[in-house]
């Protein structure tokens, strides 16, 4: 793997982290703005959070793409 790959992978991690932070803040804002009935939007945001971690941090696609 090249230095360019290394830099790209690091950048991917930072972008995923920033996305997760933004989503967490949005979740919190939704909870504050909606004292009731907030389950569905918050659950949807949590699913996106989980998907980002599974895909970009845990490399779940390795299970069906044997690239290494």
């Amino acid at each position: 793997m090249s230095t360019a790959d290394y830099a790209t992978e690091q950048k991917t991690g930072v972008i995923a982290f920033v996305a997760l932070v933004v989503l967490k803040i949005v979740e919190y804002a939704v909870a504050v703005a909606m004292p009731s009935g907030s389950f569905l939007p918050i659950a949807a945001l949590a699913v996106v959070d989980g998907w980002i971690i599974l895909k970009y941090f845990m490399h779940m696609p390795q299970l069906w793409h044997s690239e290494e």
């Binding site: 997760l20 389950f39 599974l54």
Partner: protein, 186 residues
């Protein structure tokens, strides 16, 4: 006596097999947490006590997310043979995990006052955060053991790091579900 040797392609598949085994373990853990999270909605609906410290919950969530980033950086550093970046990011992950554990402890002190384990929400809160905290502590122990083994033996093997880091990310995935389940939905 003739020694029995495994075909060479088995060694080539070792990493894929290790990964599959770890993912199956993670899947089995997912069932455990899914049962606990669903029990929250079954027992107490979306009731949320007013005394719940949402800001502290958000703060420790950010700390755990940041620890996932440092763990990710440690993993790719190990994959690229960058030993100093691996060591630096692993130590940061351990420190952030420790801060998260302290934050949970602070929440528990508040929780014992406002919703002790004897009430329904308290029972759910302590069970969910307790199970998760146990996984945090075991994840920290695994990261530390892998780090020390690599440091003491100068090993360059990658699988130990990948396995430990994947487990740590799983702890993070579980928290991104537990946090809204306990602190946000209403």
């Amino acid at each position: 006596m003739t020694a029995i040797t495994a075909p060479s392609h088995h060694a080539g598949n070792a990493l894929a097999t290790n990964r599959l085994g770890l993912w199956l373990f993670i899947l089995s853990e997912t069932f455990l947490f899914a049962a606990l999270v669903s029990s929250r909605y079954y027992i107490d609906g979306v009731f949320r006590p007013q005394e719940l410290n949402q800001v502290l919950g958000l703060a420790i969530s950010m700390v755990l997310l940041l620890s996932s980033l440092t763990a990710y950086k440690a993993e790719i550093a190990a994959a690229h043979g960058d030993k100093s970046a691996y060591a630096r990011n692993t130590v940061l992950t351990l420190a952030l995990g420790g801060i998260f554990a302290v934050g949970v402890g602070m929440e528990w002190v508040e929780a014992f006052t406002f919703f002790p384990p004897q009430v329904a929400f308290g029972s759910i809160f302590f069970t969910l955060t307790g199970f998760h905290a146990f996984h945090v502590l075991s994840g920290l122990a695994i990261l530390f053991i892998v780090y020390m083994r690599r440091r003491n033996t100068q090993q360059s093997g990658y699988w130990g790091v990948e396995g430990a880091v994947k487990y740590w990310h799983f702890v993070d995935v579980v928290w991104v579900v537990i946090y809204p389940t306990l602190y946000l939905v209403s």
